[in-house]
């Protein structure tokens, strides 16, 4: 059994940093025991890199955890290869973002190998506000999600060296997704914070599980307007990036041609994140190091919401599905399991305690009228 504390301590002790996100922590908690987790970290490219580049071959640890029981074998560096290491003179950038922070940091690192890019998600920022308020001034450039413009945690008006980027939200592939409020905050379904608007509306309308599953068809999607999201979502996305002086129009054409570029309504796939990073790099430096390499897609650890086959069909896509991938696991649920799991979870509260998140009211009301 690996606890959250174990994961954080292992990261701090072996990698000299915190896990990049809650999703990472949850994923790592799936290890059978602590040794299994350590083995994975010791075998990671990051650890290998850090141990080779740190002083004396040891990473300076923050806490005095036990040293690794089986040190990884040291590999001889090829004399012809000069490793691209962090140099004191390298400029340092900090990315402050949401779930896309890791993807952006890794992408920016590929695009600007002579810059040291670090990340801090908005949750870390609010948790350690004093630490970050002190540290932010040491970065040459800040790349900050525009939701933080009016942040009370950091007064970003003090800094001129900021490139803003917006939250990436695009719901046309997943028009059924929504958040639901409950007395404890955002309600968690079997898909973590993601809920199905159809399932929630059906639950609130006292439909049975069988009746609810019947709602997932072309007639209903057409009736409740699921096929009508595209133009509005596209326009909104372009406008949000325009507000940050980032023109995604040409990129968007490529994303659409590549198929579904979203894991869910607010989790873009890594190629999309990379293209955003490219726009950011271009804006800051007027250049980038083109590479065929793309970083790993860390957001696949999180929940992946399927594009319903009828909706995929509208967009010429082949990969429609009713399989729901939950947070931190690759065991997918079928539609029936998702409906049953959602209904069970809703039952922990009184019906009146569950309310649709305001952003999704329009869709929810349309469904309630339709069914």
């Amino acid at each position: 059994m690996v606890t959250k504390k174990d994961v954080i301590q292992c990261y701090q002790s072996l990698l000299n940093r915190d896990p990049e996100s809650e999703a990472t922590i949850l994923a790592q908690m799936n290890h059978q025991d602590l040794n299994s987790l350590k083995r994975e970290i010791l075998a990671s490219a990051e650890y290998q890199y850090k141990i080779q580049t740190s002083e004396g071959g040891q990473i300076v640890t923050k806490t005095a955890l036990e040293p690794p029981s089986t040190p990884p074998p040291r590999t001889e560096k090829h004399p012809a290869i000069t490793p691209c290491v962090s140099r004191p003179e390298n400029p340092k950038w900090l990315v402050i973002g949401n779930c896309q922070t890791t993807g952006l940091v890794n992408s920016l690192t590929i695009l600007s190998p002579d810059v040291d890019v670090e990340g801090c998600d908005v949750w870390q920022l609010s948790k350690d506000r004093e630490y970050w308020n002190d540290k932010i001034a040491s970065y040459q450039h800040l790349i900050v999600i525009s939701d933080c413009r009016e942040s009370e945690i950091v007064d970003f008006r003090r800094y001129k060296n900021i490139t803003w980027f917006p939250s990436f939200i695009f719901q046309a592939f997943h028009p059924d997704m929504c958040y639901v409020n409950c007395p404890d905050g955002i309600f968690k379904s079997p898909m973590d914070e993601y809920n199905s608007c159809l399932i929630f509306a059906a639950y609130q309308s006292n439909l049975s599980i069988q009746e609810t599953s019947q709602l997932f068809n072309d007639d209903v999607y057409r009736g409740v307007g699921f096929y009508d999201f595209w133009e509005y979502e596209k326009k909104s996305l372009i406008e949000r990036f325009d507000e940050c002086d980032l023109d995604i129009r040409a990129s968007l054409v490529h994303w659409v041609r590549s198929g579904c570029f979203m894991h869910s309504m607010n989790h873009p796939k890594i190629n999309t994140v990379y293209d955003i990073a490219r726009l950011i790099t271009q804006k800051i430096r007027k250049k980038n190091a083109e590479s065929p390499i793309r970083p790993h897609d860390n957001l696949t650890v999180g929940p992946i919401y399927p594009i319903y086959p009828e909706i995929a069909d509208q967009f010429g896509l082949k990969d429609g599905s009713y399989l729901f991938k939950p947070m931190g696991s690759y065991k997918q649920m079928d539609l029936k399991a998702f409906i049953e799991g959602s209904f069970q979870a809703y039952q922990h509260y009184e019906k009146h305690e569950l309310t649709i998140y305001p952003l999704y009211e329009k869709t929810y009301n349309r469904i309630m009228t339709y069914i």
Binding site: Q214, V220, V256, A312, F315, Y370, I371
Partner: protein, 351 residues
């Protein structure tokens, strides 16, 4: 400075109509000549691709006209024996010569001479629809009797259809040297026996395809004054060519001829329209996404794109304004199924 291109519509410019467009929004249909109402009798014929269109039209609630439906048969047998695949049980009508020949035979203005082909298992098949009866016929007489019944239904299709959808499929064909009868498959592939004395390969020219199509349309209009015709060209590449050239080159020739013939017919007759499903499936805007893994069969997402454009331009009022869901609504069945194609027999037997 005057410029004749100034002020033209967006669809006339590649950049505006293709390059910068989301690929699922690509829509090459401009100024359709007529509308298809829910009450119109819609009949279909043609190549394998026409089967996709036929199935979708039926599932979308159009009045898909199938006089030879085999409704007394159970589901699997009905499909296996080619009932309901098209409006009548004529199998694939790949060439315009074959279409013209069928019309003439149905209206007794020309007699086909080819006799039943003997199969290696001792059963007989119909040379003009060789895969229609999987178990074959016990005798040539039985085949002829069944063909006689079939032709009555064919006649009904031509007489009663309000809209006749025909997909031009091939230019390559096999012909009886003496009678001029043409076949969807070469003799010897699934039945009969090939010999150079009786049979000859024929790759129709654009002049021949166009003339056959024009003649068919004129004859059809003569027996059915109200008919409207929607022509499409099959985007499915040739499974094989008998020409001594690369199959891709042969495909390009064949589709080009069919496309020109369709254009000429649509230009000449105001009741004939060309529907650009070929352009939707083959267009580079979709990066080949509408083909299956063999890069020949059409994936259902491509058919869906075709049907979206069709519905938008030819049946705009089709989706009635439903304000409340009926839980007793029958959900449309899965539309992904393989078409039955005579041409497939060539690849299966050519080893």
């Amino acid at each position: 400075m005057s410029n004749p291109y100034k002020g033209l519509a967006d669809f006339q410019f590649w950049r505006r109509a293709v390059s910068t467009l989301d690929y699922h929004a690509f829509d090459p249909v401009v100024n359709p000549k007529f509308q298809v109402s829910k009450s119109d009798c819609v009949a279909t014929a043609g190549s394998c691709f026409a089967q996709h269109l036929a199935r979708r039209l039926a599932s979308m609630g159009f009045n898909y006209y199938v006089p030879e439906s085999g409704e007394e048969l159970v589901g699997d047998e009905r499909v296996a024996r080619g009932f309901g695949v098209f409006s009548a049980r004529y199998g694939n009508i790949y060439t315009t010569r074959q279409l013209l020949q069928l019309f003439d035979e149905a209206f007794s203005t020309r007699i086909t001479h080819e006799q039943a082909w003997l199969r290696s298992d001792g059963r007989y098949i119909d040379p003009f629809r060789p895969n229609i009866e999987p178990t074959g016929f016990k005798s040539a007489e039985a085949m002829n009797a069944e063909r006689g019944r079939h032709l009555k239904y064919v006649k009904q299709v031509f007489l009663n259809a309000d809209v006749f959808v025909y997909t031009l499929g091939l230019t390559e064909s096999w012909m009886n040297r003496v009678s001029g009868d043409v076949f969807p498959l070469a003799p010897g592939v699934v039945g009969g026996s090939y010999n150079e004395k009786d049979y000859v390969f024929k790759n129709f020219s654009v002049t021949e395809v166009s003339a056959d199509l024009k003649l068919f349309l004129q004859k059809l209009k003569k027996v059915n004054h109200n008919v409207k015709v929607l022509l499409t060209v099959s985007p499915v590449p040739l499974i094989a060519t008998y020409e001594m050239r690369h199959v891709a080159v042969a495909t390009c020739y064949s589709k080009s001829v069919l496309r020109v013939a369709a254009e000429m017919a649509a230009t000449e007759f105001d009741w004939v329209d060309y529907f650009p499903s070929y352009e939707i499936i083959t267009g580079n805007f979709n990066l080949g996404k509408y083909y299956a893994d063999d890069l020949r069969e059409i994936h259902s997402n491509g058919v869906s794109h075709v049907m979206r454009c069709f519905m938008r331009h030819y049946a705009e009022d089709h989706y009635k304004n439903i304000t409340r869901y009926n839980f007793n609504t029958k959900v449309s069945p899965n539309l992904v199924s393989q078409p039955i194609c005579d041409e497939e027999s060539i690849a299966k037997t050519a080893f």
